[in-house]
Symmetry: C2
Subunit: 274 residues, 2 copies
């Protein structure tokens, strides 16, 4: 089943929009977990087990695994395989390269690591995006507006003739790529930009980082990410607040509780998902 | 010795501005090379040996190694180690992520893989760049203007008040980052943009892809990349034209000849480097 169908099905089944970001950071690890590659794998396996019926997608970030050495990249594939049994996985690599090379990144993400979706950086234009969209069962989240302070420096520049860069980019890609297998990354810290992207792409999924630690407000994000039929088409990411909910021996229960609490909060902002 | 000093020394010693792009593509491999991970390593080791006294820098692209499976990522580190004995190495990953994650990418590039320089994507703004610059002995090439057709779609948008996006980005980063350990990627296919970037950053190194296969013209690029004292501060990349100069048993000699020919052509466009 393609990523898009799996996600739509899981959102209904699990009544959740939760994306769990798998960003292993040894400095934040529970103290009883050995700071080894095996320790990282075991920790993430526990987190996946604790959230398996709550998350609708997992999102490991390439950098966090790559910073652990080659062993980190080896377990990235294993983590994706483990998480992917029940739940689709987005490899967060923010890939962006010329066409020929983009094809190789698609192979890396979908074949080497076995992800079903990726994040992409649009700075090189549409020929850096198309090779990913050609993998029809996968899904690509293109960076529209990111959650960090520097997002204004490029993405929110005003263009000649009016409108901001990310708005024009969204309109251009919406015209250029009628394919259904892509959506946008839209940071929770930029609510008005999130609304704007939703208005340009009414029915594409939004991958939304920046809730919690980065300051984004959940209710607002849920409301603004609704598609025309009133249902949010959003995958709302939480990483640190779940993975590192506790650094003691109860980290697994704490992670589950944090995930349940966040999904509970999603429900308060919604009529129940039918 | 820091990347910048090594490069400046090697340009004088080897009288060359050649960057050899190490992009292993099995479809283009000489027919006698086994299409295995060992075969890829042996092929690249031969290419490095054939060009060791001609290239001043090597540039493996993460995507090409990652597309070969985990084994490909394992030999990426070995290739960087081998090439790096005599010549510095740029890991072409076009990394771009929020500050916390950018730090992890820096660890991946400089520690896991042992590169001395990287390429960076500026779409997320200055907080995605700074963590790399803090590694003082390394060097970062920030994508200014790329060599592909899609480069116009984002990078060359005209901004309100005049000027193109990449020009404003270059001016902003020039002000914001007085550090010496970074320069620009500027595609050979965009000569007027290359001149513009040179005028904004008169004395930073330019990493220039797009000569040859992509259609950039060498003499023009050499001239336009000169610093105020009349010396090009450029690293001119060639990948396919060297690696796949022949697909028969003489591929190694053919690679050397192609590299020598390109460097010879550089000399015709210059007064000799003193």
């Amino acid at each position: 089943m393609a990523f898009l169908e799996r996600i739509e099905k899981l959102i209904k089944e699990r009544k959740s929009y939760l994306c769990v970001g798998l960003d292993p950071d040894l400095d934040k690890f529970p103290s009883l977990i050995p700071k080894t590659i095996d320790g990282v794998y075991r920790f993430l396996a526990e987190i996946i087990e604790a959230t398996a019926d709550i998350a609708v997608v997992y999102k490991p970030n390439l950098a966090f695994f790559g910073s652990l050495g080659l062993g980190g990249l080896t377990i990235l594939g294993k983590v994706i395989q483990l998480a992917g049994q029940e739940t689709p996985v987005i490899l967060d690599g923010k890939f962006g390269d010329i066409g020929n090379t983009a094809r190789k990144y698609a192979t890396m993400a979908f074949d080497t690591f076995g992800a079903e979706a990726v994040t992409l950086n649009p700075y090189l234009g549409s020929d850096s995006i198309l090779p990913f969209l050609e993998h029809k069962d996968t899904y690509s989240f293109i960076l529209g507006i990111t959650s960090n302070p520097g997002s204004a420096e490029v993405q929110q520049r005003e263009l000649a003739g009016g409108g901001l860069l990310y708005e024009h980019l969204a309109m251009d890609f919406e015209k250029r790529f009628p394919q259904l297998n892509w959506g946008w990354v839209a940071g929770a810290t930029q609510p008005s930009a999130l609304s704007k992207i939703r208005s340009i792409s009414p029915s594409r999924f939004l991958l939304i980082p920046g809730i919690g630690a980065q300051g984004g407000e959940l209710g607002q994000v849920m409301e603004r990410s609704k598609s025309p039929d009133g249902i949010p088409m959003a995958l709302i990411n939480a990483s640190r607040s779940i993975l590192y909910a506790s650094n003691t021996s109860n980290f697994k229960e704490a992670a589950r509780d944090a995930a349940l609490e966040l999904v509970g909060e999603m429900h308060t902002h919604l009529r129940p998902v039918s």
